[in-house]
């Protein structure tokens, strides 16, 4: 062994000092504004778990009484993603709320086309927060774009009193109050907080699986101090989100040199400048993952990222690029680990890149499971049942 006067990375330990954080604690600023009568803060209900964020501060993650702020893209074309989040809550017998009094955050449109303005965006956000507060639940955000945007909105409301006044007036005309949650919480932070309990209830072993992780830009780059960091994961130099969960499930998380890169979603690009999204996600993410890590699957935690990484591989294949990595969310992986049905719950048939090899590698009888789902579909087609219920899905 070489003896050098310089340490190796494994010997270097980084400790963030929350008292030395370079930013103001926005939650304290919110409470100050509440004291001044400017707005009302929705408190995180108990039971909650505290997790460490970038500068060493602790963030409260509610475990129950969550109001599920759904994602357009998930519900629209990857519904297994939303379903898996609900399934996890049900599996633990947690009290949660799935609202119909919810609008899109409208941020995808905002980042794509700028056909909006800060007042409209803030009013849409606060309307949703108020709707959650009115039924006594705490907002849990399903989408990375919504999460990032709501952090931006919170920041704007705290620092611009003109905007607060405008939004307060709008809310008044709708019979609502200007409310802001104590924390903006992403569902993947909930999955992270629950990871020990999920691992305890794991029935499908995953030690033979390797995965690459893709963190959403709007989770860990936009107002980055709010993201989860853990000294034991990546030396607290990168967010521990998703990785923390997969490691608990026994999955071998493999690194690759474009970990920090955006997936190429682009908001507008995925819809009207698609060559950018396709090229970027295939050449900067998927190909690099395959070449350097060769994982069984890619796991991410945002709607846009799942969409871009998954769908772009079709065009990639047509150009003879090295593609073929299935893409799912951390919630789907967690649910699968706990025995959720890949088709009735995870709804894997909505994903594009072939995920059958992955299911088979786990030791699941993919054909039998698909047949079970088909049987349910046949019942619906034949008019014997209207919908697949939770009871059917959990059988």
């Amino acid at each position: 062994m070489i003896h050098l006067p310089v340490s190796k990375a494994s010997e270097r330990i980084f400790k963030a000092d929350p008292n030395n954080a370079p930013t103001h604690d926005i939650r304290e600023e919110l409470f100050q504004l509440e004291r001044e009568g400017e707005l009302e803060v929705i408190r995180v209900p108990e039971p909650y778990m505290e997790v460490r964020t970038k500068h060493g501060r602790m963030k409260k993650i509610p475990l129950e009484k969550t109001w599920h702020h759904k994602s357009c893209g998930q519900c629209g074309h990857i519904p297994g993603y939303s379903t898996s989040i609900f399934w996890l809550n049900r599996a633990f017998g947690l009290d949660y709320f799935d609202p119909t009094d919810q609008t899109s955050c409208t941020a995808w449109n905002y980042y794509a086309s700028a056909t909006s303005n800060p007042a409209a965006q803030a009013a849409v956000a606060v309307r949703n927060f108020a709707a959650a507060h009115e039924v006594g639940y705490f907002p849990l955000i399903h989408c990375g774009t919504s999460f990032g945007h709501y952090k931006e909105v919170r920041h704007a409301l705290v620092h611009q009193h003109d905007l607060r006044r405008k939004v307060r007036d709008i809310m008044k005309r709708l019979g609502k109050k200007l409310v802001v949650p104590e924390e903006i919480v992403h569902y993947s932070e909930w999955v992270y907080a629950m990871r020990d309990r999920i691992a305890e209830r794991q029935t499908v072993p995953m030690d033979m699986i390797s995965a690459t992780v893709h963190p959403a830009c709007h989770y860990h780059k936009l107002i980055e101090e709010d993201a989860i960091y853990n000294e034991e994961i990546y030396g607290a130099q990168r967010s521990a989100i998703i990785t923390g969960v997969l490691q608990k499930l026994g999955i071998d998380v493999k690194d690759y040199s474009t970990w920090f890169d955006c997936c190429g979603f682009g908001f507008r690009h995925i819809l009207v400048s698609r060559d950018f999204s396709r090229s970027f996600s295939v050449q900067r993410k998927i190909e690099v993952m395959i070449e350097e890590a060769n994982p069984d699957i890619v796991v991410t935690h945002d709607t846009g990222c799942v969409t871009t990484l998954d769908q772009s591989q079709v065009a990639g294949k047509a150009h003879d690029k090295k593609v073929g990595l299935p893409v799912i969310s951390d919630s789907q992986m967690a649910a699968l680990a706990m025995g959720a049905h890949p088709y009735k719950v995870l709804q894997m048939h909505w994903h594009n890149t072939d995920n059958k090899p992955f299911l088979r590698k786990l030791g699941l009888d993919q054909e039998k499971l698909w047949a079970e789902f088909q049987a349910e579909c046949d019942k619906i087609k034949a008019g014997k049942m209207d919908f697949l219920t939770w009871e059917d899905a959990e059988k």
């Binding site: 007042a119 780059k221 950018f276 065009a315």
Partner: protein, 238 residues
């Protein structure tokens, strides 16, 4: 879309537009409530470019945009507002700026100015995007199951055909009650939609839409005014 591979930054690119006109747009951007928190100074370090995905695909540089606005170079800013800002993928990797600029948010503000003023290049950039605007404005949901049509996503392959063919059954084969929908992502209350329309009305968002696509504006306004009237609101968007 024309193949504009190289960004033309020469000063005579938009010589036909008056300096006053260009300056007016820049002043509008500067007067935005966010401006003082998103633009400080720039020491041209290039960290924003280093982290930027669009910089690897387009001849696009968030550094040049930040430098242009920091120098208040009105001519250059006008060129960038037309030819460059729509390449940004709004990922905010550039928020790593050590001066604490946010080129991404600067671009968001510049885009809003472009849309508000009906710039031709803004309209061109949003061509083909109209159906999304229609969806989000009228239903409060950006993506709905019925949008998964092969002609809308031809490069997503035959899988989209499979989904479109089975859409009706597959949507019913979803356990969550709120997802048994085709025209919206999830079931939304009527009252919620009305509140959304009122927000658009009170914040002047429909004017922005009128600026970039008058036809779309008229269709949307019809739908919204009718629904609002049914709910007992006497509101017009004009």
């Amino acid at each position: 879309m024309a193949n504009k591979m190289v960004l033309d930054l020469t000063y005579n690119k938009y010589a036909d537009v008056t300096y006053d006109e260009k300056e007016k747009l820049f002043e509008e951007a500067k007067s935005d409530g966010r401006w003082d928190h998103i633009l400080y100074g720039c020491y041209e370090c290039g960290i924003c470019v280093a982290a930027c995905p669009s910089a690897r695909f387009y001849d696009f540089s968030p550094r040049i945009i930040a430098q242009a606005v920091a120098r208040e170079d009105v001519d250059l800013i006008y060129t960038l507002m037309n030819d460059s800002i729509w390449d940004c993928s709004q990922c905010f990797s550039c928020d790593r700026c050590p001066r604490q600029n946010s080129p991404g948010q600067i671009i968001t503000v510049l885009r809003e100015v472009a849309v508000r003023n009906g710039l031709q290049t803004a309209k061109k950039a949003l061509e083909g995007y109209g159906r999304i605007i229609y969806k989000i404005m009228s239903t409060g949901s950006q993506v709905s199951p019925d949008m998964l049509q092969p002609d809308a996503f031809p490069d997503w392959g035959k899988h989209v055909h499979e989904i479109a063919d089975n859409l009706d059954v597959w949507r019913k084969a979803l356990p969550p009650e709120t997802l048994h929908t085709i025209e919206t992502g999830w079931k939304v209350d009527e009252k919620t939609i009305i509140e959304l329309y009122l927000i658009w009305h009170m914040t002047g968002v429909m004017d922005l839409i009128e600026g970039i696509d008058e036809g779309l504006f008229m269709i949307l306004v019809d739908v919204m005014e009718e629904r609002l009237e049914e709910a007992g609101y006497d509101v017009t968007f004009d």
